[in-house]
């Protein structure tokens, strides 16, 4: 039997992401309907020390074999190294910080989502394709924000009209919008996850500045879009998944998710779903206690991903397409549709740093 420990955020501000992750993951588990896999779910409250404590509990008392579910990079950094150091497997449903992709990579650690930079790189590639020449870029002042702008610049070939770091958790962007207006930019890239993005988009739409905007999928997630409303319509964003991605697995997933939870799935749900299916595929092939064999089984990625083509790069991070989506209104619901592909079969920038 395999025991899986899921640590994710189920209460407080960021709960919606964790709930989607859990629901996607559990949907796959239910569909598989097997009794040799047991999942234990705990709420990390988005606090690193709680996450560490839960990991300890799952490892020491529950004796799990695999951990998964963490949404946030800083929590992942707190849990993942210690987990893999103790010989357990960790499958990331979302957070995939650079440290764990490069020098800190580990044969027992797999990111089933992406590498954190991927969507930003996609946005940068799109900005280049779209012919943007002078983009204004902004992100919060914390490691993920800095990585984001770096990732964008990696694939963006035009000039920068401005580069601004905002406060983490900032809610008022009037000053930045004024800067954008004055900068002579021809476009805007922003990475502002969660409520920050909602605030920015609403205020941007109301400001009268109407330069094209692009951002990573985090700010255009199914859960968030309804709160942004009209202000988001038409905005382009980069994503590795979309509900209208044309493949069989995805169609089935979207339908089943809607059926079961009565809402549209988000990218977090999709990643959770994929993670569970990857895990199940490996369990069928190898014994979880045989580290090498199980790692190899995971690495084959022999499952039907809702993202279509899916394989792992040398550092156990996905090779996949990054798409460009546009926000649209479907009836009463705001959602995304794919309008192009920014990067094809894209891996990540850290593969070479990883020695394993």
């Amino acid at each position: 039997d395999v025991k899986v420990g899921m640590i994710t955020t189920l209460s407080g501000g960021g709960a919606s992401l964790g709930i989607d992750t859990r629901d996607g993951f559990m949907l796959a588990m239910e569909e598989a309907n097997r009794n040799d896999v047991k999942v234990i779910i705990e709420d990390d409250q988005r606090k690193p020390d709680i996450a560490v404590q839960l990991a300890d509990k799952m490892i020491q008392s529950e004796k799990v074999d695999v951990l998964t579910g963490i949404v946030w990079s800083n929590l992942a950094m707190a849990v993942v190294p210690a987990t893999t150091a103790q010989g357990l497997f960790y499958l990331s449903t979302n957070a995939a910080p650079a440290q764990l992709a490069g020098k800190g990579c580990n044969p027992n650690y797999f990111s089933v989502s992406y590498q954190n930079d991927n969507l930003h790189e996609g946005a940068g590639a799109y900005a280049t394709q779209a012919g943007f020449k002078n983009t204004f870029i902004l992100a919060p002042n914390y490691p993920a924000g800095i990585d984001s702008l770096t990732g964008f610049k990696r694939f963006y070939e035009g000039d920068l009209a401005g580069e601004v770091y905002t406060k983490l958790g900032q809610t008022d962007y009037a000053a930045e919008i004024a800067q954008i207006r004055a900068s002579g930019a021809d476009s805007v890239f922003f990475f502002l996850p969660g409520g920050m993005g909602i605030s920015f988009l609403k205020q941007y739409a109301d400001s009268g500045v109407d330069l094209p905007v692009v951002g990573p999928a985090f700010s255009f997630d199914q859960g968030i879009l309804q709160a942004v409303g009209e202000a988001a319509v038409g905005v382009k964003n980069s994503s590795t998944w979309s509900k209208d991605l044309d493949n069989e697995a995805n169609a089935a997933f979207v339908a089943a998710f809607q059926q079961k939870y009565d809402r549209l799935p988000s990218i977090y749900a999709a990643q959770g779903y994929d993670t569970a299916n990857l895990l199940l595929s490996a369990i069928d092939k190898a014994d979880v206690n045989d580290d090498a064999a199980f790692a190899a089984a995971l690495k084959e990625a022999d499952f039907a991903s809702v993202r279509g083509e899916f394989s792992f790069a040398a550092n156990n991070h996905p090779i996949q397409n990054v798409y460009v989506r546009e926000v649209i209104k479907e009836g009463d619901v705001f959602t995304n549709k794919i309008v192009g592909t920014a990067l094809e079969d894209h891996a990540n920038a850290y593969v070479d740093e990883c020695k394993m």
Partner: protein
């Protein structure tokens, strides 16, 4: 950097200050005037925003949404006061801290229980959307101008209430010596329930007004709570005027330092570290401001009373 931009940023600073005042106003009333440390003030702010979003979602009317926000927050405030706070006036400030912290937990998760985990939608009314052109060619969102107006009105109204009316005097007297004012025939309990409801309503109003241009989500109240505390402490607890000046100071500092410090640093160092160092210091700026003010005047700018 053009003068227009500088003027616009000063305007932004002032406007964010007024918005802060709107949030701080209710807190000043409760904290400053009634002497109660109400950590749950942020929750009332959230209640207002959620009530507004829910009603706007059903009726589509912003006016109704505002009324709902006021009513829901006032009601929540009155209920809290009667059920919990009333028993705590005589006890330690610390008991109030614990109790209102507990209320935060209850409100946050209660709201999530009722409305789900996803942020809600609340938009500004059509009549107030879009920018207007100010003299000098500055484009400025009309809604934000409206916010400034409301903030000024609230400031003036509150000042009148507290400083100029008999009820205001009685409230302040109650803060000094509750037992005594009651023994002299003033129904201070009822008065305090009213004040608490009023403070809560103001928080709810702020939540609804600000929620229209920010995100309406669980936990939205706590960062605001801290800022509001900073504001009233800088201004001097119990002083409406102080809260107003404090809010403007904080708004200006926050906006201008964040924008201009990286630029200034770029004169001395490379662009990338300048941006990052500049914004790091900027995020601390209001706290630095507050400690400087308090080191200089230990009871805030207008806190002669404390």
């Amino acid at each position: 950097m053009s003068t227009i931009l500088i003027i616009e940023q000063v305007l932004n600073g002032l406007q964010s200050g007024v918005m802060l005042f709107l949030m701080a106003a209710g807190l000043t009333l409760i904290f400053g005037v009634m002497g109660l440390i109400n950590l749950a003030h942020g929750s009332l702010y959230m209640v207002g925003a959620f009530a507004a979003a829910a009603v706007a979602g059903v009726t589509g009317s912003f006016v109704l949404a505002l009324i709902a926000a006021l009513a829901a927050a006032a009601l929540a405030g009155a209920v809290i006061e009667v059920a919990v706070i009333r028993r705590l006036y005589d006890s330690d400030h610390l008991d109030q801290v614990l109790a209102t912290f507990a209320l935060i937990l209850i409100f946050s998760e209660g709201t999530r229980w009722v409305f789900g985990s996803f942020p809600l939608f609340l938009d500004i009314p059509d009549a107030l959307s879009g920018p207007v052109t100010l003299p000098g060619g500055i484009q400025y969102p009309l809604y934000r101008l409206a916010l400034i107006g409301v903030g000024l009105l609230v400031a003036f109204g509150l000042w009148l209430l507290i400083e100029r009316t008999r009820i205001g005097i009685q409230i302040r007297a109650g803060e000094n010596d509750r037992e005594m004012i009651a023994a002299l025939g003033v129904d201070i309990s009822k008065l305090y329930t009213l004040v608490f409801a009023l403070g809560a309503a103001l928080a709810g109003l702020a939540g609804a007004l600000v929620g229209a241009i920010q995100s309406v989500q669980v936990g939205m109240g706590e960062p605001v709570l801290i800022l509001a505390f900073v504001v009233i402490v800088i201004g001097g607890i119990g002083s409406i005027k102080g809260a107003f000046i404090g809010a403007l100071l904080v708004g200006l500092t926050d906006t201008l330092v964040g924008i201009f410090l990286p630029e200034v640093l770029k004169l001395f160092m490379d662009a990338a570290p300048a941006t990052s160092a500049g914004s790091s210091i900027a995020s601390m700026s209001i706290y630095i401001l507050m400690s400087l003010v308090l080191i200089w005047r230990p009871s805030g700018l207008f806190g002669a009373r404390a």
